[in-house]
């Protein structure tokens, strides 16, 4: 979660210093170097811009990379570079300190297991990216005595390491990883985090047992279907029946267990969920089979019974798609780092957040997050709250001001005093609300269960009617006919239609970087009739503002000076101006550089005095800034040698292709915009959304949540599209919460859908596909009802033989499965944009 380290300041060397290096080692590094004509670092592959360290025939960009190289070669781990020449990652120049991990309270809540001999710990390491990383991390024991075994889970970017606590501290393990360039990602949410199983192991075991039993009972049943056993030994037929019963018992008791339990709870809550008719059908099937076997009247339907359970479990397994690296229920604690710099008794130390007390003095450096509500003591602070409030512009605060948790400091270091504990901050209090407590949405309302309610009643009615009819006409069939009805009406196909259609929809969407929490979300998406957008990060792309220069053209030379100056500041405006000029210029050395927080920066380049900053600041220094330019909100004025030369205006552009989206969505849904931002761009959004759409600015997180709740109270199915913690409440409250993420696997607030930013323009097509998928489910349900009608007609006449059952059951299931998956993927190809490279490996 740490902000990417910006370019190292001021240590720039003139070109002549690097040009003297002649040979670069191999062609692999040359490709990386060719872009800038500088040698590529042998370790990290980045061009050696700032520093150059020569070691043998290899060039290194910084002492950190050289240190890793020396460490690896010193321990016989050179294979690392052979396996993947671009494996290395540059270790952070200032290594974080991890001593706080050794505090007993923190340590105990982090590790998986610990005793006197061994400690096991899982580190999440986002830098893991290739086979060489896996190899190096699993050979960690060769670098550091005391480390026992290390195992990488590549899909989750996780390292599981066991070490001897007597010889090694947890902090030393973390430091070792960090110094190798594999800095562990530690957040507050890691405390007491339960390990996340990738799959439901019990379901797979149940599936295995059911498949085994199904296959073998089929073998025993086939001779009966072809009448072979009648020609031969009648004792053999009985024996086959008993074998089938023995094989079916584990299926009855273990594999189908969840169906008995769910049916029982459904009945007790007087709900006719799909499990009820399934359990009825399974019970009737098994009971009838045992009866046949006992009385010697037949071989039973054991193959149908085990096959039914097997197919049902396959449907459930298909539905349980999980993503290894995506988490749908993150709260603010996953956004917070685990530690913070504290000053106490004149000493600075890195401490764990949960050991902070009110009154502690904290030091925050560039890019660090304010973990609790605090009072600013030292320095003007420039805090970026964009993720928390939605306000795109960083805010300036003066010493003495109250600061809310969640802001990221940009610029120099500040000191603050904690006034509330971490868990008592305004941000944290949001999570204690009602909306966050309802964790699991009820699946009671989904399509399958709504249909099964009517279905169950109809089946029971037909069974009773058949029983009554035969009781009056032919007593012998009074029991067998209703049982046959229950057997054949067992809604296997009904239970399979939704898992396979919606599971396929979920997979098709995942291939296009739209990740759903569960298959039920498809149904919720199909019902959406109101879409609420958050502005920041959803419709506009964060960070990538458009920079326009206003004023007489600066000219080549002056622009280069401006670029050289911006490279030394971490202020987001300066960074963005610098990025916009980067491709055209090379930096020149600065003679001097001073940054005045909240005002601007000044520096001397090539003998010229450059001032860049707010209009007020320049005017106070006697620069004549034209009045019409001074009114612009996000602008950086430029003065060279005391004379105004123009200004850079920064605007947040809409994401590409998003322009026509509101019009396309408005055909079916109501729209609304809720922004935590200033209303400075109201006009452009009015133009985008049209005259009728409500636009609300300056919305608090609570205000957004309330708005969603009000719309829901009016009977609408609300989809909330947001990206920040400020939307978290609204995302939770809404029927479908969509979190838009720029980078997959970056922090996203709890939501139902994680949507890649590139897919925002295709939102209308995603919704159309969801509706279409539910249409497919309906069609398949119709198909299965038709099958059931045929089956029930046969059964109600009392003519259901095991052979017909054995043919009808798999036939209906398989056609439904094929139709559900086939139709859904066909609709996906028609409706959705072409699948790109999947960003999440299939689990």
């Amino acid at each position: 979660m740490d902000a990417p380290s910006s370019q190292p300041p001021a240590a720039w060397l003139p070109d002549s210093g690097t040009a003297s290096v002649a040979d670069t080692p191999s062609s692999a590094e040359m490709t990386a170097a060719s872009a800038s004509q500088r040698p590529a670092c042998f370790h990290c592959g980045l061009p050696c811009v700032t520093t150059l360290v020569q070691h043998g025939s290899h060039a290194f960009c910084c002492p950190g990379c050289l240190a890793v190289y020396a460490l690896l070669t010193g321990h016989g781990l050179e294979s690392y570079y052979r396996m993947n020449p671009s494996a290395g990652r540059r270790p952070a120049p200032s290594q974080p300190r991890f001593e706080f991990l050794d505090e007993p309270a923190t340590r105990q809540r982090l590790v998986d297991y610990s005793d006197a001999q061994v400690t096991r710990m899982r580190f999440r390491i986002p830098a893991i990216h290739c086979i060489a990383c896996v190899w190096l991390l699993e050979n960690l024991y060769r670098l550091q005595p005391g480390i026992g075994g290390a195992e990488v889970h590549f899909g989750r970017r996780e390292l599981r390491v066991a070490f001897d606590p007597a010889r090694l501290r947890l902090s030393e393990v973390a430091s070792l990883l960090s110094s190798l360039g594999y800095e562990p990602d530690l957040t507050l949410a890691d405390l007491d985090a339960a390990p996340r199983p990738a799959l439901d192991r019990r379901l797979w075991r149940q599936l295995g047992v059911a498949g085994f039993a199904f296959g073998n009972t089929m073998i025993f049943s086939l001779p009966a279907y072809f009448g072979l056993n009648r020609l031969d030994d009648p004792g053999l037929a009985r024996l086959f029946g008993w074998y089938s019963l023995a094989l079916s018992l584990p299926v009855l008791l273990f594999s189908a267990r969840d169906y008995w339990m769910h049916a029982w709870t459904s009945l007790r809550q007087r709900r006719m969920q799909i499990e009820v008719p399934i359990a009825l059908g399974l019970a009737a099937l098994f009971g009838q089979s045992v009866h046949h076997l006992w009385t010697g009247t037949g071989e039973g339907y054991f193959d149908s019974f085990t096959g039914l359970v097997f197919f049902l479990l396959i449907g459930r397994a298909f539905q349980q798609k999980t993503y290894q690296r995506l988490v749908f229920d993150r709260d603010y604690r996953a956004f917070f780092p685990l530690s913070v710099q504290r000053r106490r008794d004149g000493r600075e130390e890195r401490v764990s957040l949960d050991s902070l007390e009110v009154g502690d003095r904290l030091i925050l450096r560039h890019g660090e997050l304010l973990p609790g509500d605090a009072r600013l003591v030292e320095g003007p602070a420039l805090l970026d709250y964009s993720f928390v409030t939605g306000e795109a512009e960083p805010v300036t605060r003066q010493p003495g001001d109250h600061l809310y948790a969640g802001g990221r400091q940009v610029g120099g270091a500040i000191e603050v005093d904690m006034v509330k504990p971490v868990s008592g901050s305004y941000l944290a209090s949001l999570w204690n609300q009602e909306a966050f407590r309802k964790n699991v949405r009820s699946t009671f309302r989904n399509l399958t269960n709504r249909i099964s309610r009517h279905f169950t009643l109809a089946v029971v009615a037909v069974a009773l009617a058949a029983g009554l009819y035969w009781w009056m006409h032919n007593g012998a069939r009074a029991l067998s006919a209703p049982v046959a009805v229950l057997i054949v009406a067992c809604p296997c196909a009904l239970a399979l239609a939704a898992p396979f259609a919606l599971g396929t929809a979920q997979r098709e969407l995942a291939r296009r970087s739209v990740f759903l929490r569960s298959t039920d979300v498809v149904e919720s998406m199909a019902r959406v009739d109101e879409i609420i957008f958050d502005k920041t990060g959803t419709l506009t792309a964060p960070g990538t503002g458009v920079v326009n220069f206003h004023g007489p053209p600066l000219g080549e030379e002056a622009e280069r000076w401006v670029y050289s100056l911006t490279r030394h500041s971490t202020h987001p405006h300066a960074v963005r101006i610098g990025e916009s000029l980067e491709t055209r210029h090379y930096p020149e050395p600065l003679m001097s550089f001073v940054e005045n927080a909240g005002q601007g920066m000044e520096g001397r380049v090539h003998g010229h005095e450059l001032w860049m900053g707010s209009a007020a600041w320049l005017i106070s220094r006697g620069v004549a800034v034209p009045a019409e330019e001074a009114t612009w909100d996000s602008a950086v004025q430029v003065a060279i040698d005391g004379a105004w030369r123009g200004c850079f205006r920064l605007t947040h552009p809409l994401r590409a292709e998003v322009r026509s989206l509101p019009a396309r969505l408005a055909k079916r849904c109501r729209l609304a915009l809720l922004s935590g931002d200033q209303p400075r761009e109201r006009d452009s959004f009015r133009e985008l959304f049209g005259p009728d759409v409500p636009l609300h600015f300056l919305q608090t997180p609570q205000g957004k949540l309330d708005f969603v709740a009000r719309e829901q109270a009016a009977g609408r199915q609300v989809m909330m599209v947001g990206d920040g913690l400020n939307d978290a409440g609204a995302l939770r409250q809404s029927d479908v919460g969509v979190a838009v993420v720029e980078k997959m696997h970056a922090f996203s607030p709890a939501s139902d859908v994680i949507l890649a930013a590139s897919m925002v323009p295709a939102l209308d097509r995603v919704l159309a596909f969801a509706r279409s998928s539910v249409g497919v489910v309906r069609a398949c349900l119709l198909l299965s009802v038709l099958y059931n009608l045929v089956g029930v007609t046969i059964a109600a006449q009392g003519r259901l033989s095991p052979v017909i059952c054995a043919i009808l059951m798999p036939l209906s299931s398989i056609t439904v499965v094929v139709a559900a998956t086939g139709l859904t993927s066909w609709r996906a190809r028609r409706l959705l944009p072409r699948a790109g490279a999947p960003q999440e490996e299939p689990a």
Binding site: S79, R120, Y141, G148, G149, H153, F154, A194, L247
Partner: protein
């Protein structure tokens, strides 16, 4: 034909062995991670080979 009375239990036993192997594989967590083992196959082991540490790469002994 009576040999079938012997062959069927034997064949079920064999099949049961495979079922047991599957259940064991699921239980020991071999399906938890399907990508990393595929990468390990391609690794250079060097002269020393990949030693197992004292606590080895035993799958999953969560204590929670």
């Amino acid at each position: 034909m009576s040999v079938i009375y012997l062959l069927i239990p034997v064949s079920i036993l064999v099949a049961g062995g495979f079922l047991w192997a599957f259940l064991w594989a699921v239980r020991s967590g071999q399906y938890e991670d399907t990508t990393t083992p595929a990468m390990r196959v391609l690794m250079e082991d060097g002269e020393e080979g990949r030693k197992e540490g004292p606590e080895g790469s035993q799958h999953d002994r969560h204590t929670s």
